[in-house]
């Protein structure tokens, strides 16, 4: 289990310091797939990068804990963290081609991580590298080993990234919009690959996406993020049956109409600029349920009984003063 508690991240910009994550809580149950959804710019990528401790200045983790097997990753030294990254938690990215070094063949990094984390010698690392590429369903792995990123298609690059990420048998995989940049048919193949690898290896996955359809298909749990806060978290079935937060409901409504990357049509207005955060609940300027209180004070997370036998009574969280009013 990977647990994120009260994670706060700031960016120092020319126009002052902005808070990109406000005390984010996230639980990734072992062997399950958890979705993280929200509009562009709400902080999904920053969350994943902070968990990996990959943020670079001007980004800074200001507080919170990231617990992996009871160990707080935020307290580790950089050297200790290097033994966690790749070996216990891995990450794949939105732009697969840009994530591969253009002037090195695939084999360079693949054999490097195998030597580093699994102590394989040159020849064994090469053989294992080919096996991993084959497992990521790349045809002719022996040729892919020697290929450079520009010689591979986007889908093949993402398969290489998956092979790299899983090379050292991590238990947790953070997938940041792994299919957004790919063609639709390729998207499906990559999703199928991720699904089968997840089940086969019992991976704990965080799937960041805009695509609620994908969430419904792949995830067991889902967290909804808005302006650097988790506003709702629930088992997938419960969330789709009965979304509690007005923002989640807006997202659902917009899914019916617009494509996955478009602004949610079901929600008027747009996500606030981090420099000009509204007081109180950050969603209130766009919220159909907003009242005076919402502009004064942000709601605190509230645990709600699922009230839903299908979700085996699992608790869910919502962060809204008036969530009860809009729920049918």
């Amino acid at each position: 289990m990977l647990e994120v508690q009260d994670l706060t991240v700031t960016f120092h910009t020319g126009r002052g310091t902005v808070t990109a994550l406000h005390g984010v809580d996230l639980t990734l149950p072992t062997g399950r797939v958890t979705g993280l959804v929200g509009e562009s710019g709400c902080g999904k990528t920053v969350t994943a990068l902070a968990v990996m401790r990959l943020l670079r200045p001007p980004g800074e983790i200001r507080g919170g804990r990231v617990l992996l097997g009871g160990q707080n990753l935020l307290a580790l030294s950089e050297r200790e963290m290097d033994r966690v990254r790749g070996a216990r938690i891995a990450m794949i990215f939105q732009q697969p081609r840009a994530s591969l070094n253009p002037v090195f063949p695939v084999a360079a990094q693949l054999t490097h991580v195998l030597r580093l984390h699994r102590g394989l010698s040159g020849r064994a690392a090469w053989a294992e590298g080919e096996a991993l590429l084959a497992r990521a369903q790349l045809p002719r792995p022996e040729r892919v080993m020697r290929a450079y990123p520009h010689q591979l298609s986007g889908g093949m690059c993402q398969r290489v990234m998956i092979a790299l990420a899983l090379a050292c048998r991590p238990s947790v995989l953070l997938a940041d919009e792994p299919t957004t940049a790919l063609d639709v048919t390729v998207q499906l193949q990559i999703i199928e690959l991720l699904k089968s690898l997840q089940q086969e290896l019992g991976l704990t996955v965080l799937l960041i996406t805009h695509d609620l359809g994908l969430v419904a298909e792949m995830c067991d749990f889902v967290s909804v993020m808005y302006a650097g806060r988790i506003v709702e978290a629930a088992p997938v079935s419960a969330l789709f049956r009965r979304p509690l937060h007005p923002y989640t409901r807006g997202l659902m409504a917009s899914r019916m109409r617009a494509g996955s990357r478009a602004l949610p049509a079901g929600i008027p207005g747009r996500i606030p600029d981090l420099h000009q955060m509204p007081a109180g609940c950050p969603f209130h300027p766009r919220c159909p349920l907003a009242q005076g209180l919402c502009a004064e004070r942000d709601a605190s997370p509230e645990t709600v009984d699922g009230g839903d036998p299908a979700a085996s009574g699992a608790a869910r969280m919502v962060r809204c003063h008036f969530w009860g009013r809009g729920v049918a």
């Binding site: 253009p102 002037v103 490097h112 991580v113």
Partner: protein
């Protein structure tokens, strides 16, 4: 290219006859000289003759040295090659690591040093720096031989093999000549290298910073590969690509700068030859020099292209 040079040299005021003919010569004598050198012919005819000559490797005869220009250039080339190559090597050895350290330790004292060097290197005129160094190192402290030429008159030059004194003296196992040649090289090379360090350090710093914040470096970090390996094994190679291009540009700039430095240090190279040729309206010599410089330029860019193809698999060869 040759046409532009050709026309330019003719259009500019002054005539080579002023140099050759004595001030006392009569108009008739001057005319005879014009006819002798073919300067009385129409311009297009002079140009055609010139181009045909180039085809045979004949660049004409210099008015000032009375030697075939091609032979002059060949004779003066090694001095310039030695000077500029030594300067670019030293500038690279200093500038690239400076830029790298500046980028890797961004905001540290090294980084500030890089930025100061970048500004000072651009701001200090070569001319001024040369005079200050000559004054201090030779006149004041007597640390170096007189800043005239490539060797002191009392030293026997090593047998010419490459034309580069440092190499020839090493090949001839002549320590005295080597030391003297190095002493003569030191100041002009320092001055030229000083001007070249700034752009090299700056481009290295910028391109390294770019690479270190690129998505593929982030992805490599996500694999647990330590930062040191990332910088030295992976990012270094990416960062060197723009530096390579800059090296070619800087080398061209040094060839230009050598005109001034060679004149200041009485360095018997192409730059001084060109300077004398221009001030003496020596058309064939100026044209020959520009042709030569262009060829050197092209050769350098071809060399850089080849290196690029070796370093960057995206370049198709």
């Amino acid at each position: 290219m040759t046409l532009v040079t050709f026309v330019l040299t003719r259009v500019l005021p002054g005539s080579p006859i002023d140099q050759i003919a004595s001030p006392m010569s009569t108009p008739a004598q001057r005319h005879a000289l014009m006819v002798h050198y073919g300067l009385d012919r129409p311009l297009w005819e002079q140009y055609a003759t010139y181009i045909l000559g180039i085809g045979r490797g004949d660049l004409g005869t210099s008015f000032t040295t009375s030697q075939p220009v091609a032979r002059d250039l060949e004779r003066f080339f090694p001095a310039t090659l030695e000077l500029t190559t030594a300067a670019i090597v030293i500038a690279t050895v200093i500038g690239v690591p400076l830029g790298l350290c500046g980028a890797v330790r961004r905001g540290s004292w090294v980084d500030h040093l890089v930025r100061i060097v970048a500004v000072v290197g651009v701001a200090l005129p070569i001319f001024w720096l040369s005079l200050v160094l000559i004054y201090l190192m030779f006149y004041r402290w007597h640390l170096l031989p007189a800043p005239i030429g490539r060797l002191s008159p009392r030293i026997t030059p090593p047998r010419v093999i490459t034309g580069l004194l440092l190499i020839d003296s090493l090949l001839g196992r002549d320590g005295v000549a080597f030391a003297d040649a190095a002493g003569h090289l030191l100041l002009p090379v320092t001055v030229l290298a000083f001007a070249a360090v700034a752009p090299l350090a700056r481009i290295t710093r910028t391109s390294t910073l770019d690479v270190l914040s690129s998505p593929h470096v982030q992805a490599t970090r996500a694999l647990g590969i330590p930062w040191r390996s990332i910088v030295w094994k992976y990012a270094f190679r990416n960062a060197m690509l723009p530096v390579l291009t800059m090296l070619a540009i800087v080398y061209g700039f040094l060839l230009g700068g050598s005109v001034l430095v060679e004149t200041l240090f009485a360095w018997p190279g192409l730059g001084r030859y060109a300077f004398n040729a221009i001030s003496g309206n020596d058309y064939p010599a100026v044209q020959g020099f520009i042709l030569y410089a262009t060829l050197i330029y092209i050769a350098i860019f071809i060399l850089v292209d080849v290196l690029y193809a070796v370093l960057d698999p995206r370049v198709q060869t």
